[in-house]
C-alpha cells in the first residue's frame, strides 16, 4: 500500500514538474538578429544571409561556388530559426527548423533534434 502511495507521490511530483515546466515563460533571446547578416563559414560550407531574408549556401568541397549557390529563405522567431529551401524545379519546399544557441557578430551556433551547428562569420 505504501509502495502504491509512493508511486502515486512520485507520479504526482513528476506531473507537477512537467506542468510547471510547461507553464514557464519562453526564454528571452539574448542576441541581435542583425548580427546574422553576412557570410558564415564552417570549413568548406558557407551560408550567406541577406537583409531581404534570402540567402545562399554552397560548399566548395563539392566544387560549388557562391555564384552557383542554392538559394533559401530564412526567418528568426525568438530562438527559432527556419530555413526554407525552394527546389529549382517544382514548388516543393524543404523546411529546416533550428534553435539558435548563440549569435554574435562572429559566431553562430544552433541545433536541431539531431545535430549541432557552428559557424564563424567570414565577412
Amino acid at each position: 500500500m505504501n509502495q502504491k502511495r509512493n508511486l502515486q507521490g512520485i507520479f504526482g511530483m513528476t506531473l507537477l514538474l512537467v506542468v510547471l515546466y510547461g507553464c514557464a515563460p519562453d526564454p528571452v533571446p539574448t542576441f541581435s538578429v542583425s548580427d546574422i547578416y553576412g557570410t558564415w563559414q564552417d570549413g568548406t560550407l558557407h551560408y550567406r544571409y541577406d537583409r531581404n531574408y534570402e540567402g545562399v549556401t554552397w560548399d566548395v568541397a563539392d566544387d560549388v561556388y557562391e555564384s552557383e549557390g542554392q538559394r533559401f529563405r530564412w526567418s528568426i522567431e525568438g530562438e527559432d530559426m527556419e530555413h526554407i529551401y525552394i527546389m529549382e524545379m517544382g514548388e516543393s519546399a524543404i523546411p529546416k527548423t533550428y534553435t539558435i544557441d548563440e549569435l554574435t557578430p562572429k559566431v553562430l551556433r544552433y541545433h536541431d533534434d539531431f545535430k549541432d551547428y557552428e559557424f564563424t562569420k567570414v565577412y
Binding site: 560550407l45 563539392d62 566544387d63
Partner: protein
C-alpha cells in the same frame, strides 16, 4: 613595061609635081607666118574677150594632107581680174590645130579635126564675186552676129578626133569656195572615131601631180602623184566595151582631222555589154595605206595593202555583184591604244539585186578577221521605202579562243586579267527580222554555240574543262519567247583549294518568254535540265549524283508578282566528307518556290523561298557517330524560315523512330542571335535513350565557356565525359514510344514531352510502364559545366514492386533503408534535385528532396522468419502483411528526415520517425513508439554496424489520435499531408495505350 605606059606615068608624075609646086608657091606667097598671125589675131579679137598674144603662126599642108595644120607658138591669153595675182589665163608653148581643108576651101567653115597643146600653163581664177578669168568667149555677141550672118568665118565646127595635151600645168582657184586645184605635168591623149555607127574612143591621161585644197569650214588638202588613167571604149549597135585603168603612185588626203595616204594604187575596170547583158570586172589594189584621225580620240590605221575585186553583171533589171575585199596587215591605234595589230581582213560575197533595189540576196558572204571567219547567206527586201526585211544565215568556222582573245586590245585586257582560256568555239544560226518605220521587229532567231576542248583557268583558282558543249538558242518573235538547249558531255569545274566537280552528260532545254521585260523586273522563263551524273569535291567533301533532272520556271507580270519555281530530282546521291561523314540517298526530290515581294525588308524576306524535300533510302555514317543512321524516308518543307517535317522514319543505331513537326528560327541560330526552335512529334517502336544521349552529348558546348574559376577546371576529371545538353537549341519532342531502353532498363508505352532549351533538358510529364511499375516522370537536366551538372525530377511510381524499385534506383535504399524490409506494390512519389559531378556522383551539399510512399498489404518479412515469431506475437492465421504504410520524408544534404508514420499489423500499431544520414556509416537516430497493444518507446541509434536500442518513453503514442495529439504532432501530420499532397498533385492523368 610598055613604052606607052611608061610615058603615061611620067606625064602624070610631072603633072602632080607641078600641082604641088604651084600649091607650095601659093602657100608660101599667100599664107606667110606674118599674114597667118594677122589672121589669127583678127579671129582671136573677134571671138575672145581677152587679149591674146601669139608668137608665130605657121600653116602646114603636106604633113596633114588632105587636112591642114595650123601651128601656133607661144600663145598667151591675158585676162586680168580683180585680186588675181596673175593676168595670164593660159600660156601655151606650142599649139597645133588640124583643120579640114576641104571644108575650109569649099564651105569656108572651120572643122577642127585635132588639137594639140604642148607645154605651158593654164591659170584659172574665179573671184569672190564669181568672175572667172577664163570666161573669155562673148556668147551674146556670137549669137547676134550669127543672126546677122555678116561673119565670113563662123565658129569652128568641132569634130575632134584627137586631142593631145603634153606637159601642161593647170592652176584653178575659186576664191568664193576657197578651193584651189593644181595639176602639174598633165599629159592627155583623147581620140575618138565613129565610123558607120561604130564608135571607138581612147583616153590616155597622165600627170605628175595634182592637188586640191579647200579652205573654210571643211578644210581639205588632197594630193595625187604620178597618175595614169587609160580608158578605151567601143560601141556598136547593142555591143559595147569599156576598159579603164587608173594608177597613182601616191594619194594623200587631209580632210578636217583625217589624214590618209595610199601608195601605188591601181584600179582597173573592164566592161562589156551585149544584147542587154552588161558584165564588168573591177580590181583595185594598193600598197601601204595609212589613215589618221586627229582630235580628242586620235585614230591611226596602217594597212599593208588592199585588194578589191568585183565582178558585176547587169541584165535587164537584174544586178549581180561579187565583191571581194582583202585588207592585209591592218594595224589600228585608237587613242594610243592598239586595237588591231597586223590583222588580215577579208570580205566577200555574191549580191543579187535589181535596179530598183527592192531585194538584195547575199550568197556565200564571208567576213574574216585573220582566221576567224563568219559566213553569211541571206536576203534583204525593201518592199517599200519604210520597210526593210532581212533573213540571214550565219556561221563561223572554229575559232581558237586563245587567238580570239589575243585580238582584244591591250587596253582592255585588264578585263581578262586572270583569265587563261583555250579551246574552240563556233557559232551557227539564222535569223529574220524587219525594220518598219524605224522600229526593229525580230522574227525568229536560231543560234548554236559549240564549244570544244575548253580549258579555262580563272585567277589561278577556278578551272573549267569541257570536252564538248553546245548551247542552242531559238527566239520566236511571234510568241516573244526564247527557247534553248544546253548539252555537254563532260564538264570539269575546279575551285582551287575548295571544290572540284565533274558533270557528265548534261542535257537540258530552257525557254524564256517576254525577254524584253526583264529590264522591268519581270521575266517569264522555264528551263529543263538533265544530267547523267555529277561528281564534285569540295575540300574533303565529295558528292556524286546520278540521274539528275531539274525544272525551273520564272514568271511574273505587272499584275502578278515575280515567281520562281524549281523542281530537282536525283536518282541517287552519295556524299562523303573525308572519313568524318558519308551519306547516300536513293531518290531525292527538291521543289522550290519563291514569290518576290519588294516590300519586304531584306532579300531573303523579299523572295521568301518555300522548299519541299523528299528523301528516300538515305544512309548516314560518321566517325562522330558510333552508330550508322538510316533514313528510309523523310519529307520536309521549308517556308518562312521554318522547316516542317511532314513524315520521316529514322533508324539511328538501335533506335527506330519517326519525326514530325516544325523546326524554325534558323536564321537567329545561324547568326547566334537566338535559339534554334523545334517542336516535333517523336514516335518510335524502340528507342535506346542511352545511345542517343551519347550521340548528342556536348553539341554546341564550348569547352572554355562558363568556367567559374581555375579551381573548378582543376577539379574536373579529364576522363569523365558526362552528357552535355546541347546549347543554342529549343527543341520539344512529343514522345510516343513503344519501348525505351535506359541503361538496360526497358520501359513501355512512354508518352510525354522532352524538351531541350539552350542547355536545359526537360522530360515533362513522361508516362511509361515497366515490369516494376507505371511511372510518370518530369525531369530536368542542365549542364552548365562538366563538373556541375544539375538533375531534378518529379518522379511518380504507381503500383511499383518495391524490390524492382530498389533494383532500378539503388539510392532509394540508402535514403529509406527500411524500404527493403517491405515487399509488394506501393506508390512512390518523389521530387528531388541535386548537382552532380562529372562522373555523376551526387554533390551531397546540394541534395534536396521530398518523398512520399504509400503502400497497402505489404509483406514485411520473409515467410520463415514470420512463422517463427508469429506464434508468439500474432493471432493464428495473421497474414504476413501490414495494412498500410504512408511515409513522408525530406532530404537535405545528407540528412534524411523521416516523418513519423504508422504501421498496423494485426493488433499491433507502431509509429516510426527520425533521421538518418547518407554517409559511409549510414548512422541514424530513429524512434519507434508502440502504440498498441502496449505503449513502449524505443530509440534506435548508431550505425548499421553498431545498432543501439534504448528503451525510452513513447514519443508518438498519441500522434494518430486526433483528440490527444499535441501541437507538435499535429503540425508534423500537417507537414506529412502537405508533402504528400504536393507530390501527388504533380501526377497527371495518363492516357492508356491500347
Amino acid at each position: 613595061m610598055k613604052r606607052g605606059v611608061k610615058i603615061g606615068l611620067i606625064a602624070i608624075g610631072s603633072l602632080l609635081a607641078l600641082v604641088a609646086a604651084v600649091v607650095s608657091l601659093v602657100c608660101w606667097l599667100v599664107f606667110t607666118p606674118a599674114r597667118l598671125t594677122g589672121i589669127v589675131d583678127k579671129v582671136a579679137n573677134k571671138y575672145l574677150t581677152c587679149d591674146m598674144e601669139v608668137g608665130e603662126v605657121d600653116l602646114t599642108l603636106f604633113g596633114t594632107f588632105p587636112d591642114v595644120s595650123l601651128q601656133l607658138s607661144d600663145v598667151v591669153l591675158i585676162n586680168q581680174v580683180d585680186s588675181a595675182s596673175n593676168d595670164t589665163v593660159a600660156a601655151i608653148a606650142h599649139c597645133a590645130a588640124v583643120l579640114d581643108l576641104g571644108a575650109l576651101l569649099h564651105d569656108t567653115t572651120v572643122v577642127l579635126r585635132s588639137l594639140q597643146l604642148d607645154g605651158g600653163r593654164v591659170n584659172l581664177y574665179t573671184t569672190a564675186d564669181g568672175i572667172a578669168n577664163y570666161m573669155v568667149f562673148p556668147t551674146d555677141t556670137l549669137t547676134e552676129e550669127k543672126e546677122s550672118d555678116t561673119i565670113a568665118l563662123d565658129m569652128p565646127d568641132i569634130d575632134i578626133q584627137e586631142i593631145y595635151i603634153h606637159d601642161v600645168c593647170v592652176d584653178y582657184q575659186d576664191v568664193a569656195s576657197g578651193q584651189r586645184a593644181v595639176i602639174e605635168g598633165l599629159t592627155a591623149h583623147v581620140s575618138g572615131q565613129m565610123v558607120e555607127e561604130r564608135l571607138a574612143a581612147v583616153l590616155d591621161v597622165s600627170l605628175r601631180r595634182a592637188a586640191l585644197n579647200t579652205k573654210g569650214e571643211s578644210v581639205m588638202n588632197a594630193c595625187v602623184e604620178d597618175v595614169t588613167l587609160t580608158m578605151d571604149g567601143a560601141l556598136h549597135d547593142t555591143d559595147a566595151k569599156v576598159g579603164l585603168m587608173f594608177k597613182a603612185a601616191c594619194v594623200d588626203a587631209l580632210i578636217a582631222d583625217m589624214e590618209a595616204r595610199v601608195e601605188q594604187m591601181e584600179c582597173t575596170f573592164n566592161g562589156t555589154g551585149k544584147d542587154g547583158l552588161w558584165v564588168g570586172t573591177t580590181m583595185l589594189t594598193t600598197r601601204p595605206v595609212a589613215a589618221k584621225i586627229n582630235g580628242e580620240s586620235p585614230m591611226e590605221a596602217v594597212l599593208g595593202g588592199a585588194r578589191l575585186e568585183a565582178d558585176a553583171k547587169l541584165h535587164g533589171k537584174d544586178i549581180a555583184l561579187s565583191p571581194s575585199l582583202v585588207l592585209p596587215s591592218l594595224t589600228v591605234d585608237v587613242g594610243g591604244e592598239r586595237m588591231l595589230d597586223k590583222a588580215d581582213i577579208q570580205l566577200q560575197g555574191d549580191l543579187l539585186t535589181d535596179t530598183l533595189l527592192k531585194s538584195v540576196s547575199l550568197v556565200g558572204g564571208l567576213l574574216a578577221l585573220n582566221e576567224h571567219e563568219i559566213t553569211l547567206n541571206g536576203q534583204v527586201e525593201m518592199p517599200d521605202s519604210s520597210t526593210i526585211c532581212a533573213d540571214i544565215d550565219f556561221a563561223t568556222n572554229r575559232w581558237d579562243i586563245a587567238r580570239l582573245l589575243a585580238l582584244v586590245p591591250r587596253g582592255y585586257r585588264h578585263l581578262l586579267e586572270g583569265i587563261d582560256v583555250s579551246g574552240g568555239v563556233a557559232l551557227k544560226g539564222k535569223g529574220n527580222g524587219s525594220l518598219i518605220g524605224g522600229e526593229p521587229h525580230i522574227g525568229n532567231v536560231d543560234a548554236t554555240l559549240s564549244l570544244d576542248g575548253i580549258d579555262l583557268l580563272y585567277d589561278d583558282s577556278i578551272a573549267l574543262q569541257s570536252h564538248k558543249a553546245d548551247v542552242s538558242v531559238a527566239y520566236n518573235g511571234r510568241k516573244d519567247r526564247v527557247a534553248g538547249h544546253l548539252s555537254s558531255d563532260v564538264l570539269d569545274v575546279s575551285v582551287k583549294g575548295l571544290a572540284d566537280a565533274q558533270l557528265h552528260g548534261m542535257d537540258g532545254d530552257f525557254t524564256v518568254r517576254q525577254p524584253m521585260r526583264i529590264v522591268d523586273g519581270y521575266i517569264d522563263a522555264t528551263a529543263n535540265m538533265a544530267m547523267n551524273s555529277l561528281s564534285a569535291a569540295m575540300d574533303t567533301l565529295e558528292i556524286y549524283t546520278e540521274g539528275a533532272a531539274m525544272d525551273i520556271s520564272l514568271s511574273g507580270s505587272e499584275k502578278t508578282k515575280p515567281q520562281f519555281d524549281a523542281v530537282l530530282r536525283l536518282d541517287t546521291m552519295n556524299t562523303a566528307m573525308g572519313t568524318l561523314l558519308t551519306a547516300s540517298t536513293g531518290t531525292l526530290g527538291i521543289s522550290a518556290q519563291a514569290i518576290y515581294d519588294k516590300a519586304a525588308d531584306n532579300l531573303l524576306a523579299q523572295w521568301n523561298p518555300q522548299l519541299a524535300f523528299d528523301v528516300q533510302d538515305g544512309n548516314v555514317a560518321s566517325s562522330m557517330l558510333t552508330v550508322p543512321v538510316a533514313i528510309p524516308n523523310i519529307q520536309f518543307d521549308y517556308a518562312n524560315g521554318r522547316f516542317t517535317i511532314n513524315d520521316s522514319r529514322i533508324l539511328l543505331g538501335n533506335s527506330d523512330f519517326g519525326l514530325r513537326g516544325d523546326v524554325h528560327n534558323i536564321d537567329s541560330f545561324v547568326n547566334k542571335t537566338g535559339l534554334l526552335k523545334a517542336e516535333l512529334d517523336f514516335s518510335s517502336a524502340y528507342t535506346d535513350v542511352s545511345q542517343l544521349m551519347d550521340l548528342v552529348s556536348g553539341l554546341g558546348v564550348d569547352d572554355t565557356a562558363d568556367m567559374v574559376n581555375e579551381e573548378a577546371v582543376e577539379m574536373e576529371k579529364a576522363d569523365d565525359d558526362p552528357f552535355m545538353v546541347p546549347l543554342g537549341i529549343d527543341v520539344k519532342l512529343n514522345t510516343d514510344i513503344r519501348t525505351v531502353n535506359v541503361n538496360g532498363f526497358k520501359f513501355d508505352d512512354i508518352g510525354g514531352n522532352v524538351s531541350v532549351k539552350d542547355g536545359v533538358l526537360v522530360l515533362e510529364e513522361m508516362g511509361f510502364t515497366s515490369d516494376a511499375a507505371r511511372m510518370q516522370l518530369t525531369a530536368m537536366y542542365k549542364s552548365p559545366r562538366k563538373n556541375h551538372l544539375f538533375v531534378g525530377f518529379d518522379f511518380h511510381l504507381l503500383d511499383i514492386e518495391i524490390d524492382e524499385l530498389i533494383h532500378m534506383i539503388p539510392d532509394v535504399d540508402s535514403i529509406i533503408p527500411m524500404l527493403s524490409a517491405f515487399d509488394g506494390e506501393a506508390e512512390f512519389h518523389f521530387a528531388a534535385e541535386t548537382y552532380l559531378k562529372s562522373n555523376y556522383d551526387i554533390k551531397m551539399s546540394t541534395l534536396r528532396a521530398a518523398g512520399a510512399i504509400e503502400g497497402k498489404d505489404l509483406v514485411v518479412m520473409d515467410s520463415e522468419t514470420f512463422e517463427k515469431i508469429s506464434k508468439y506475437l500474432f493471432k493464428e492465421d495473421t497474414p504476413n502483411v501490414v495494412d498500410s504504410v504512408s511515409v513522408e520524408l525530406t532530404v537535405f544534404k545528407d540528412e534524411v528526415d523521416l516523418y513519423p508514420f504508422l504501421i498496423a499489423m494485426d493488433k499491433y500499431k507502431a509509429i516510426i520517425g527520425g533521421r538518418h544520414n547518407i554517409n559511409e556509416d549510414l548512422d541514424f537516430n530513429y524512434h519507434i513508439s508502440l502504440a498498441s497493444p502496449l505503449r513502449l518507446g524505443l530509440d534506435i541509434k548508431g550505425s548499421l554496424d553498431d545498432v543501439k536500442l534504448v528503451p525510452v518513453p513513447c514519443k508518438y503514442a498519441q500522434m494518430y489520435n486526433p483528440k490527444k495529439q499535441n501541437a507538435v504532432q499535429a503540425r508534423t501530420l500537417q507537414l506529412k499531408k502537405m508533402i504528400s499532397d504536393s507530390l501527388k498533385d504533380n501526377v497527371k492523368p495518363q492516357a492508356s495505350r491500347d
